[in-house]
Amino acid sequence: MDTKQAEIEISVIKKIMEDSRSAVYNKSSQGLFWFTLTSIAVFVNYLMVVTAAGVEYTGLLWIAVSVFGSVYSVYLAKKEDRNSKVKTYASKILTAIGIAVGIANILFAFASIIAKAYDPFVIISMNSMVLGLAFYVISMIQQLKTFKLISLLWWAGSVFFFFRPGIHSLLFLAIMLSVSAWVPWVEEKKQSAKAGK
């Protein structure tokens, strides 16, 4: 192998690695969208219960959120597929985490509301628990300490609401969803700006 060929091969490997990293960062738009949407919906739900205004429309609110979220999510995925040239190993894992957490959280809500297996407050504790798990794994993939901190916050919140279930847990959920979406986003932007310099 001559010097030139070796240099080309190394630069190709480097480029693949850099592509992988940026592809993982770009994948966060789905998470950002879902976390923001559900955070707003949970907050509206909380206000409905606290002010006792329009509680009868809670079901309608969640149906609207689910339908709008799913349609927009499909649109977003198609748009991303068109733009992204590479599908990395890390982004595949992130997608799998998103799907697994989504199914788990829907099942918890289903089990409580339809199967009547649990008190509705269990949903919040369980959602927090599974989101803690997801953020812990994401922290390993993205190598961002913020994610680890967020995962610990989710777990702590979950344990707290196992002992103190109440309507204000909805406010915790709304705030945490918002924090989980936007704090890492800001950090990622800062890091990519740094890398770009």
Partner: protein
């Protein structure tokens, strides 16, 4: 960069990739250990429900089994850390998944039931959901379709247990663990042994 240095760097990259591949092949002992311990705990609870065993005994059994599981896991991790020089990306992510799934299930089992928010029979389907999520993501990490299919089995089992509010779900969950965790763990162990022999 001269030829020698370039060749050295390439061979280093190759070595790292080969190492990663070898480390990525899980030996399955974690699946066998935790599956067997939880199945034993579930059977002790089931025997208590049927009246063959005092509740006190099964409660102590749970603490002892889960405590033992964590002790062995920590000991294993420490030993592996000493022996292994490099941990691959896949290995790290897989470790994070199963470690956090273990923490999640321990909290559900102990905190959930102690707080009274999750009733005894409600623990199994919640754990099945967590296991389903862990198996689904592991399927992508190990690039193994069997894991994905197993995750659907776990989700289906969780759905059954959500609707079937019976003490017999304890036995069902124990069987699910034996067939959908311990058995795949044993198959992984066999595969791992083969790979080690071939290496």
């Amino acid at each position: 960069m001269d030829t020698k240095q370039a060749e050295l760097e390439l061979s280093e990259i190759k070595r790292i990739m080969e190492d990663s591949r070898r480390i990525m092949i899980d030996d399955g002992t974690g699946f066998i250990l935790w599956g067997s311990l939880v199945a034993m705990g579930l059977i002790s609870s089931y025997l208590s429900v049927l009246g063959y065993l005092e509740w006190k005994v099964s409660s102590i059994a749970w603490f002892a089994l889960i405590g033992l599981g964590w002790l062995i896991t920590i000991f294993q991790l420490r030993r592996e850390k000493k022996e292994r020089k490099a941990v691959s990306f896949a290995g790290k992510v897989a470790g994070a998944i199963w470690g956090s799934a273990g923490i999640t299930m321990t909290i559900i089992g102990f905190v959930g039931s102690y707080s009274g928010l999750v009733k005894g029979m409600g623990i199994s389907p919640l754990m099945a959901c967590v296991l389903a999520a862990a198996f689904f993501v592991s399927g992508v990490i190990y690039n193994d379709k069997t894991f994905r299919y197993l995750s659907f089995g776990w989700w289906a089992g969780a759905l059954v247990m959500f609707f079937w509010h019976s003490s017999h779900t304890l036995l069902l969950f124990a069987l699910m663990i034996l067939f959908m965790q311990v058995l795949p763990g044993y198959i992984m162990y066999k595969k791992w042994k083969k790979e080690i022999k071939a290496a």
